[in-house]
């Protein structure tokens, strides 16, 4: 008898366990009424971006009451780990925010759908969009994603400080100018007993080198994406400059730079740096938390050569796991073209790619946002064609680059050793 009681107890336990699963599913379904489709939308960002995007989603719900949007958002850290595991479980959200460095990886694993048919039939309307903004999102005839904003790698600077010490960063200034300016300002401030670290690399040494290679007429990766596309001397030259900046204290040591980043602080906002590398749309965030007036300029010239390029800061793509591609496409169209939605989003993801949206916003957005609009027009005069998409494995190559820059800054390796170490490690990954 006893054992039957047990049997019943165990079966009851198992039944409840199963029921638990059922009721969870039930809840998810209850979110929408009959006839509704549900799409999941994932993005990364900070709290401001989350708030603005959620507000835009509410507006989307008003316009398309039959489409229910489930947001999934996190910070940049953890976003890709999350997506990668969802990809492994064939459970990716319908719409995902894409970064250039992952586009190829996701495309080559056949996780993204071709948007070209949806663009051709007008579900996603790109008639107001200049081709330059979409170039990087193409794979042959396939359209992998729609840019949610454009930006360019730039230098953000403190205008007041620059004026005070009598410098300017008009296009044409060089890497050496940057070095001398930071040293001079540092000297002046420290004489008055202040704290000053100089140029904040902001952990973007890799992106800056990408530009440096282009200024030398080379590329970071070769055309086929199975190796590097620059000469070793070029990297040695660049590392020499980085080393000189840090060794002579025109830029802070690595641990100070990292402690600012990890603490979510910025030297530029605090006034202990006068310049910082940043994507142009970061000016908006940086301007919010500081008393100083900040502005943008293009990257330094090398022997008069400029190699900036405009790129989508991020894009939206539709995944292969989506069962509601039509609804997902409507969402992307809404984010790209809806004026009211873009008013809410404040161009924080980068300058909107639709001319109509830009024209509508330019009068009503805040000053830092206007500066990013104006900056892209300046950059356009100094651009070259953008590089092909970075090959799968870029994340690991970038990781190796950052580690080697770290040991260079700590003085553990010479620029020559650093360059040959990086080339060897990168080729190991790419082959």
């Amino acid at each position: 008898m006893k054992k039957y009681v047990l049997l019943i107890l165990v079966s009851l336990f198992l039944l409840t366990a199963c029921n638990g699963g059922d009721s969870e599913n039930g809840n998810a379904d209850n979110g929408g009424q009959a006839g509704e489709t549900t799409i999941r939308v994932a993005w990364w960002g900070n709290q401001e971006r989350h708030d603005m995007t959620l507000e835009a989603i509410e507006l989307f719900n008003d316009i398309y009451p039959d489409i229910n949007v489930q947001p999934e958002y996190t910070g940049w850290d953890g976003y890709w780990e999350r997506l990668n595991t969802q990809a492994a479980g064939s459970n990716l959200p319908d719409v995902i925010a894409m970064d250039n460095s992952y586009l190829n990886e996701y495309n080559s694993n056949e996780l993204l759908i071709d948007l070209a048919p949806l663009i051709d039939d007008g579900t996603i309307n790109l008639s107001d969009v200049d081709d330059v903004y979409q170039e990087i999102n193409h794979d042959g005839d396939r359209v992998l994603a729609v840019a949610s904003g454009a930006n360019a790698l730039s230098l953000v600077y403190n205008t007041e400080m620059l004026e005070e010490y009598g410098y300017n960063l008009e296009p044409g200034y060089t890497y050496d100018d940057l070095y001398e300016m930071n040293l001079a300002i540092k000297e002046a401030i420290e004489e008055d007993g202040g704290e000053f670290f100089g140029y904040d690399f902001a952990n973007a040494e890799y992106e800056l080198f990408n530009n440096y290679a282009r200024q030398n007429g080379m590329t970071l990766y070769n055309e086929a994406g199975d190796g590097l596309g620059f000469a070793e001397e070029t990297l040695v030259e660049y590392f020499n400059w980085v080393h000189q900046m840090v060794a002579d204290e025109a830029a802070p040591p690595h641990d100070i730079m990292m402690s600012y980043i990890e603490g979510g602080n910025s030297m530029l906002q605090e006034g202990t740096a006068v310049t910082q590398t940043a994507a142009s749309n970061q000016l908006i965030g940086l301007s919010q938390g500081t008393q100083f007036e900040l502005d943008l300029t293009i990257l330094p010239a090398l022997d008069g050569v400029h190699a900036n390029y405009i790129r989508p800061s991020m894009s939206f793509a539709i995944t292969n796991h989506s069962a509601e591609q039509e609804a997902a496409a409507k969402f992307i169209d809404f984010i790209t073209n809806n004026l009211e939605a873009n008013e809410i989003l404040q161009a924080e993801r980068g300058v909107p790619i639709s001319q109509a949206v830009r024209d509508h916003l330019v009068e009503i957005v805040s000053e830092p946002v206007q500066k990013t609009f104006a900056f892209l027009e300046v950059v356009a005069e100094y651009t070259q064609d953008s590089d092909p998409l970075s090959p799968p494995g870029e994340t690991e190559v970038r990781g190796a680059f950052i580690r080697i820059v770290e040991s260079l800054k700590y003085g553990q390796v010479t620029p020559e050793e650093a360059a040959s170490q990086f080339i060897q490690q990168a080729e190991n990954v790419l082959n």
């Binding site: 049997l7 165990v10 890709w80 990292m258 990890e262 603490g263 690991e396 580690r403 770290e406």
Partner: protein, 309 residues
């Protein structure tokens, strides 16, 4: 003849009963058993298979044989992570155990309130592995952290201990030692098991407190020391949170724990097959070290039940 026939009959009845008993036994452990098979054994076998493939999470795995294991040998960061992890385990585990034992001795005096203090000192172990404490630790030892400020005011050092490749590991070791609570509680239980008459006899013979500690307490405590040593060593090899959250493995990979490198390889660089191979190597390392402890234990662990051998 009849007798012979009867025996198998009764046997078979018994074995049927036995089988029924077994069934209800399995049923009653089934919640655990199902969990074990689905959540531990299954994934383990899957990872064993994946360790022989080039699985990258996003597309189907291809068989590559022993390539992952061979590549480990020439992977500089893998060797670095081994070095860091061994350094960490061999420094932090003995220190932690000594600390735990010292406090357990202190709380074993039976003074008023000693159990309250034991409870208070256990708190870091409950919260110590958490994300919040890791963040607090990063703040305390960071560039403008309280501890950095104090050290700098005392003119000991004005460096940022977490950012300095020579000291970053020490900060993590300190955090782990601070979580001495669970070995302490186990030591405390062990100390209370030691028969008081041993001490009485020793004091009658005129043995000093120190002599008593080395001749009675320590030998009697060896089974507990052994247990703590094994558990803490295993835990030490699997340490992840502290390094991942406080230093991210840096600076210069000086705190790149094995588990952190494994995680990075699997989820950031998408080399799941390679990471699975790393996980199995770690399992083997832990198994070897644990069995060394077990093999040597007969020379230094004394069990009362075996006549104090």
């Amino acid at each position: 003849m009849e007798k012979e026939k009867k025996i198998p009959a009764s046997l078979s009845l018994e074995s049927r009963n036995l089988r029924a008993d077994n069934l209800s036994g399995y049923l009653s452990i089934s919640p655990w058993l199902i969990g074990f098979i689905l959540l531990i054994l299954g994934p383990m076998l899957a990872s064993l298979y994946l360790s022989f493939t080039d699985y990258n999470l996003l597309s189907a795995p291809n068989w590559v044989g022993l390539a992952n294991y061979q590549n480990l040998l020439s992977d500089g960061r893998f060797l670095k992570s081994l070095e860091v992890t061994f350094k960490f385990v061999f420094i932090s585990v003995p220190l932690k155990l000594i600390f735990a034992l010292a406090l357990a001795l202190l709380f074993n005096t039976g003074r008023k309130g000693s159990s309250l203090f034991a409870a208070v000192y256990y708190v870091p172990s409950i919260i110590g592995g958490s994300v919040a404490i890791a963040v607090v630790w990063r703040q305390l030892f960071g560039r403008q952290g309280a501890i950095t400020q104090i050290l700098s005011a005392l003119n000991i050092t004005d460096a940022n201990l977490i950012g300095n490749p020579n000291t970053a590991l020490s900060v993590l070791i300190l955090l782990v030692i601070w979580q001495f609570g669970s070995p302490m509680i186990i030591f405390l239980a062990g100390l209370r098991q030691i028969p008081l008459e041993l001490y009485e006899a020793a004091s009658v013979d005129g043995a000093t407190k120190i002599r008593q500690f080395f001749s009675i307490t320590l030998p009697m405590l060896t089974p507990v020391i052994f247990f703590n040593l094994v558990m803490q060593t295993i835990q030490g090899f699997m340490t992840f949170t502290q390094s991942y959250l406080i230093t991210g493995g840096g600076p210069l990979d000086e705190t790149l724990f094995y588990a952190v490198y494994l995680y990075e390889t699997a989820f950031e660089y998408l080399r799941m097959g390679y990471a699975s191979a790393m996980a199995w190597v770690l399992l083997i390392i832990i198994a070897v070290i644990t069995s060394i402890f077990f093999l040597t234990s007969k020379y230094w662990v004394f069990y009362q039940s075996e006549g104090g051998r």
